[in-house]
Symmetry: C2
Subunit: 312 residues, 2 copies
DNA sequence: CGTTATTGTGTAATATGTTTGCATGATCGA
DNA sequence: TCGATCATGCAAACATATTACACAATAACG
């Protein structure tokens, strides 16, 4: 619907280099370079200038991008309106999100979509927040579930529509024999002096724990890194430290650990955002998926449990 | 910048038939048909249905068109902003307009453009109002001067930006020996009983004269058809009737005819409109051309001449 | 009521544009 | 200085769009 060269320019702006943009678009750097040159010729302006071994966008390119964002938004609106007017929409629809979302939230939504739109090909992609935005931009995904990280585009970014979907409360996981284990609730500060188990640096999970602790007034003593919930749980079970697990993440029962809901003001939680391309939120499938996801989330973490050891 | 298939759909909607749209776009009907089929497949909706030997647009097609208009407007804005930021804009710029405008108004504007933007290739196309809109839509022209006719799109049409540029007063042309010839001014009604010389039916000039007479309260007795001012003037000189000539149109001195300014409330005049694609009005070249045209018009028909025989 | 001119669609051949693979030049970090 | 990373240019492979032509359906005409 819109010249693909604009999308190329957008990707180059997003990634900063031709090569990275090419990778995100499943192109070769040559193609990207050529398309940019061609777009510049069509528009009669310089779009980029060499800066060292990389490139830099000109003011004209920024202008183009600003307008491109509006164009894409309009296209999304058009698509949404069209899809709403068709009885049996075909094509494909892709949901993406980070691990827990992909495990617990996305499959029910995808199933509901499949049932409601028999002609539709529904796909799910598990991806970290950073990649989710790539997928949205490239059109490889239509709805993304993510948590805010340092590299999340600002909510005012005119390419995306990001809105809070739900707050997923954080639970503290301690060994069964830990002094806190018989507490109904705890605060983060209660575990300030414990060794902590967090995700690999750079991961959304790592960012989550560190910022939560910082907000509670201390810097966690990071003793171990574990990306998967089960790995971290095993470490906790062997008394290597404590960890934080969002309520949505279910743990296997077998581990001798206790799950303690955290309190505080506000209660520690990770905010889950639903992101679409700007203008795409009115799309009936997006609306349907968001509805299912909300319902699923409500059934998964609803009645504020008084006790925390309801692990799986 | 925008998928050409949308332009195809727009043209089909504008002309009502695939064949006519193809002609306006310099395509073959096959290509148009094929592109529409493809666009429909991409969007997943039916765009047109057979109606007799012609076609009819579906509601979905209307929806697409509504959004397409907004898209094109946004693109025009982007182009205008880009052109304003470039020192030496290249490319080409095309003015079009009906005969008198093309003769007296467009060339000075084109010359000014050429002087101001040396790298620019400036073109002028003489075209009737109906075709002007085709030229604008197809991108074959960037600014059009036209008079309102029955087939002019409404000013609310979301594809164009039409604004009044100036009112060109109408003069009555009579033979030198005509009873009215020594009058300083006249009303249209004064010539209600005369035989009239007008343009070929369907032409903008024909429409102009008839509506002016209707507004004055009578239906002209059409005796002769002449499309060129000189042809009509020759007929008047030979006492075949009277005619109406807009002030901007200059006549050769040699003819034994008298030019009488018309009065009335409002004074009979033809309204000249300046039309661009919606969003294109801010383009610096459009602004420059409109400035020159206004100045030219002011110098051509300014000080309300007390006497009308200033022919040539 | 057949005839003729229009209109839209489908198909194979052609023209056009895009993408790749590889080679080159340039810059940065070690 | 070397190796790694990055952007770009060019010819060839590839994909896409456009045409020319043939065909079916409809409306106007005599």
């Amino acid at each position: 619907m819109i010249d693909s060269k604009l999308r190329v320019l957008q990707m180059v702006a997003h990634h900063g280099t031709v090569t990275a943009a090419a990778a995100a678009l499943h192109y070769t750097p040559s193609a990207v370079s050529h398309q940019l040159r061609q777009l510049a010729a069509e528009l009669g302006v310089e779009l980029l200038s060499q800066s060292g071994r990389g490139i830099r966008l000109t003011a004209a390119a920024r202008t183009v991008l600003r307008h491109a964002d509006v164009l894409y938004e309009q296209v999304e609106r058009a698509k949404a309106e069209l899809a709403a007017a068709v009885d049996e929409p075909g094509g494909s629809f892709t949901l993406c999100g980070f691990s827990t979302a992909a495990t617990h939230l996305l499959p029910p939504a995808a199933a509901a979509l499949r049932d409601r739109y028999p002609q539709l090909s529904v796909r799910v992609i598990e991806a970290e927040p950073g990649r989710c935005f790539d997928l949205l931009l490239a059109g490889d995904a239509d709805l993304a579930l993510l948590t805010a990280t340092a590299q999340t585009p600002p909510s005012s970014d005119s390419r995306f529509d990001q809105r809070p979907l739900l707050d997923d409360p954080l639970d503290l996981i301690v060994p069964d024999q830990h002094p806190l284990a018989d507490r109904a609730t705890a605060t983060l500060a209660d575990a300030a002096d414990e060794p902590w188990i967090v995700g690999r640096p750079g991961s959304a999970y790592h960012h989550l724990v560190v910022t939560a602790c910082m907000a509670a007034g201390f810097t966690p003593n990071i003793a171990h890194h574990a990306d998967e919930w089960d790995t971290g749980t095993a470490l906790v079970a062997h008394e290597f430290g404590v960890m934080l697990v969002p309520r949505l993440a279910r743990l296997h029962e077998e581990w001798p650990v206790t799950r303690i809901p955290l309190r505080g003001e506000p209660a520690p939680a990770r905010r889950i955002l639903a992101a679409t391309r700007l203008g795409g939120r009115e799309h009936p499938m997006v609306a349907s998926a968001l509805g299912t996801i909300s319902a699923t989330a409500a059934s998964l973490l609803p009645p504020p449990q008084p006790v925390g050891d309801e692990a799986e």
